[in-house]
Structures are given as C-alpha cells and as structure tokens.
C-alpha cells in the first residue's frame, strides 16, 4: 500500500504531499526530498535513450530500505515525471505484499489523470498547492485500496 504520495512542481517545491501515518510526516517528507536527486539523474540519463524507453514512469528510485520507526516495514520509493516536468513520488510499503511493477504503473497513471483534471480546472492557478477534494479522495483511495 502507498504510505506517502507527493506531487512536486517543476521548480522542485511540493504541490501536494500526504502520508498515512500522520505522526511521522516529517520522516516521509525527508524521504521524498532525498529521492528528488535520483529523479533528476534518471531524467537526464533518459534523454539519450531510445524512443520506447522514454516513458514517463521511472520505476524504483531506491532500493528497499527498512523504515527505522517501524522496523518490520519495508518501504520502496517509486517515481514518475510528466512531460511538463511535474514529479510524482510514491512511497510504498511492500512488507507483506510485493507489488508488481504494473500495479505501481497503473497507480501513477491514475494519479496523473487526476492531476490533469486539476490542471484543467479553471479555478486552479498552475503552481499553487493542490487543495482539490477530488484529488484528495483519489489519493485516499489509493492509499487504502492497495494494502
């Protein structure tokens, strides 16, 4: 299940970030923050790749690591970058179920669809924090559904 979902703007500031165990929010913010360099690295490496390898989904950003606060949980970070350079980072708890790549991919796809809806909302100013209720409930469903 996804334990943290973050949307990060082109200029690397957060547009939206939410994690499920709210008591350790800062820890997750830190995890997302540290994965941004890996995202950048992956994008610049991808510029030279062949067309079929230039997809938006970046895959696993970081090898599995144990989460210090809950020693039994294994957390993985996955990344996705839209063509407009907006980054999605998801921290996934894979301790009891190993999620397949395809599932993660479809989760990102859903997230991207939702983000597009937010962008096309005339009441939203591009670059502002996302306060959309629809987006919020989609993220919530993603955090619960996969567990």
């Amino acid at each position: 299940m996804a334990v943290c979902v973050a949307v990060i703007a082109k200029e690397n500031y957060p547009l939206y970030i939410r994690s499920i165990p709210t008591e350790n929010e800062l820890k997750f913010h830190y995890m997302v923050h540290t994965s941004l360099d890996v995202v950048d690295e992956k994008i610049s490496a991808m510029g030279k790749a062949l067309v079929d390898q230039r997809e938006l989904y970046l895959g696993l950003l970081y090898p599995t690591e144990d989460y210090k606060v809950y020693p039994s949980h294994q957390l993985c970070r996955y990344g996705y970058v839209t063509n407009s350079k907006v980054k999605f980072v998801m921290v996934v708890d894979s301790s009891n179920t190993a999620l397949r790549d395809n599932e993660i991919r479809s989760m990102f796809r859903k997230l991207h669809n939702s983000y597009t809806d937010v962008m096309c909302n005339p009441f939203y100013n591009p670059g502002d924090r996302i306060h959309s209720r629809a987006f919020d409930s989609m993220v919530t469903s993603m955090m619960i559904q996969v567990c």
Binding site: M46, S84, M119, P126
Partner: protein, 158 residues
C-alpha cells in the same frame, strides 16, 4: 476537444466580448490583445497537460515543436501545420495556409485589420503549451492574405 463549431462560436464570442467590455471601459483599451493572449496561455497550459499524458518523453526542442505542429494542432484545429521552419537558433515559423479561426471571414484583404484579434488567443495557446513543457517563448502572428497566417515562436534562452 468539443465539437469544432462550438469552439469557433465560443472563440468569436470571446473576442467580441473582450472588445465590448473595452468599449464600456472595463478593460483598458489596447489591453484586449494581452487579455486574450493570457486567456490562451492558461488554456494552453491545461491542454498540453492533457495531450501529453500518453506520449513518450520529448527528446529535444524540435521534438516538442513537432508535437505542437502535428498532434496539438490536429486536436485543436483539425489540421496540421502546413510548414514548420527553423533557423536552429531558437526561432520557429509555423505556417498554416488555412487557419481555422480565419476561414469564416472572407478571403483577401478586406478584414485584414481585424485579424490580429482572432490570432491573439492562439498565440497564447502556443506560448502556454510551450511554457508548461519548460520552454519560455515569445509568440507573434502575422497575416498577409486572409486564411493563411504565420506564427513566429522565439525561444527565450536562459
């Protein structure tokens, strides 16, 4: 994209709406073009987000311009750009021989002075799309004889 007739009608109303409010003093006269351009900018940002959702990552600037000329133009105006030229130093000229938003007006030079009103929104559309893809630019349009027009895109290097 909504039915194209609706888009044309809405666009026409938008232009006349903005100019009418200028007459009543709500918008400063001469700011109308800017206002239409800004509307286009916001729409372009939203549209490009939607259109590039399923495409692969772009390789370079030219790749992006080709996308604008082909996919973007086809979705919005139901046809491709007829000619794309570049000097490879940040200037692109997009030529459309039968631009949709001008086809309703009679061909030739009769309404030439009004053409710029009907191109401002599209200039913004291009600029907004490019800016969302990470390219800052200045877009200008020119018309010499009616349904044909040229958009010049000047990329602003950082």
């Amino acid at each position: 994209m909504a039915d194209e007739a609706l888009f044309l009608l809405l666009h026409n109303e938008m232009v006349s709406g903005v100019y009418k409010s200028a007459e009543q003093g709500e918008v400063e006269n001469g700011r109308c073009i800017t206002k239409l351009e800004n509307m286009g900018f916001r729409v372009g940002q939203g549209l490009i987000e939607r259109f590039t959702k399923d495409t692969a990552r772009f390789k370079d600037e030219l790749d992006i311009m080709k996308f604008i000329c082909k996919d973007f133009w086809t979705t919005v105006f139901k046809k491709q750009i007829d000619n794309l030229r570049t000097n490879h130093q940040g200037i692109y000229v997009l030529q459309d021989n039968k631009f949709r938003l001008l086809t309703q007006m009679s061909a030739g030079k009769q309404y030439l002075e009004h053409a710029s009103k009907y191109l401002a929104f599209t200039c913004g559309l291009i600029r907004g799309g490019l800016s969302n893809l990470g390219i800052k630019s200045i877009v200008t349009a020119e018309v010499s004889s009616m349904p044909a027009c040229k958009f010049q895109v000047m990329i602003q290097k950082l």
